[in-house]
C-alpha cells in the first residue's frame, strides 16, 4: 500500500531525484568541426548583425559573407501598419568598386561614408569570426 501511495504521489508531484536531465545541459565545448557551411554562415551572421550598432526594437538583422566576392545585408521589421518589411542588400566586390544591389533593380557603387562604414564592418567581421568562430588570429591587411 505504501508503495502504491508513493507511486501515486510521485506521479502527481513528480520525482526529480531519478530524472535524467543530462540532455538539458549545454555542452561545454561546441563541436564546430561538425558544422555545415550553412551553420557556419549562420554563426558568422550572428556576429555580423552586431557590427552596425544596436538594432532598433522589432528588427532582425543578418550580415554575412556569402562567398569571397559577395556580402549580404538582410533586415526584417514590422512597420507601423503591422506589416512585415524585408530589405536585402547584396554587395558585390568588383574591380571598379563595391556594387550595391537592392531590390527593384537598383544598382550603385558604394562610396563616401557608406564605403568607410562598410570597410570597417567587413574588417571587424573578419577579425571577430577569425577569433571567435575559427579560433585563429586574423592577418593584418594594410
Amino acid at each position: 500500500m505504501p508503495s502504491i501511495l508513493s507511486k501515486a504521489l510521485s506521479l502527481l508531484t513528480g520525482d526529480d531525484t531519478k530524472v535524467n536531465n543530462d540532455w538539458l545541459k549545454m555542452p561545454k565545448k561546441r563541436a564546430f568541426k561538425q558544422l555545415t557551411e550553412r551553420e557556419l554562415i549562420r554563426l558568422e551572421a550572428e556576429i555580423g548583425a552586431t557590427l552596425f550598432g544596436p538594432l532598433p526594437r522589432g528588427h532582425r538583422r543578418e550580415f554575412f559573407c556569402l562567398d569571397a566576392t559577395t556580402w549580404i545585408w538582410h533586415e526584417e521589421w514590422v512597420d507601423s501598419s503591422r506589416k512585415l518589411q524585408v530589405a536585402t542588400t547584396r554587395y558585390e566586390v568588383q574591380e571598379g568598386g563595391i556594387l550595391k544591389v537592392q531590390e527593384g533593380a537598383r544598382y550603385s557603387y558604394v562610396e563616401g561614408q557608406e564605403l568607410d562604414n562598410l570597410t570597417m564592418a567587413i574588417r571587424m567581421y573578419y577579425e571577430r569570426v577569425a577569433r571567435e568562430i575559427y579560433h585563429t588570429e586574423p592577418k593584418p591587411i594594410a
Partner: protein, 116 residues
C-alpha cells in the same frame, strides 16, 4: 550609424594559429599574398591611383635606373631632389576583397579539417 573599433593586437601570441594554415589555404587556391594574380588597386599618399590594374602592375618597374629615370637622391637641373616614392596601400575595394577571401579560406579550412 555607430560602430565600435576593431583594432589589431599584433603582440598577441601567434602559437594558436594552425601552422598548416598557409599551406592548406594555398592548396585550396586562395591568394594569400600580393604575388597572386588578383588585381590590386593602389593609392599613393596623394590619393592618386599609383597602380590600378594588373596590366599596369606588369609594366611597372621599380628600378628607376633601368627605366632611365632618376635614382633616389639624384638632383635634377632645376635643383629638385629625387625622393623615394610614397608607400602605397591597398584601396578599400582590394581590402574588402582580401577579407572576403580570408573568411572563405577559414570556412573552407574548417570543413577541410572536419573531413580529414
Amino acid at each position: 550609424m555607430s560602430m565600435t573599433t576593431g583594432l589589431y593586437a599584433p603582440d598577441l601570441p601567434q602559437d594558436e594559429v594552425d601552422p598548416r594554415f598557409d599551406e592548406i589555404a594555398s592548396d585550396l587556391g586562395y591568394p594569400l599574398d600580393e604575388s597572386s594574380n588578383f588585381k590590386y588597386e593602389r593609392i599613393d599618399a596623394a590619393g592618386r591611383d599609383a597602380r590600378n590594374s594588373y596590366e599596369q602592375e606588369q609594366q611597372f618597374d621599380p628600378n628607376p635606373i633601368k627605366m632611365g629615370g632618376a635614382a633616389v637622391g639624384d638632383v635634377s637641373r632645376t635643383g629638385d631632389v629625387q625622393t623615394a616614392p610614397a608607400p602605397v596601400e591597398l584601396s578599400k575595394t582590394a581590402k574588402i576583397a582580401r577579407w572576403g577571401y580570408e573568411v572563405i579560406a577559414l570556412r573552407d579550412l574548417m570543413q577541410y579539417n572536419s573531413d580529414n
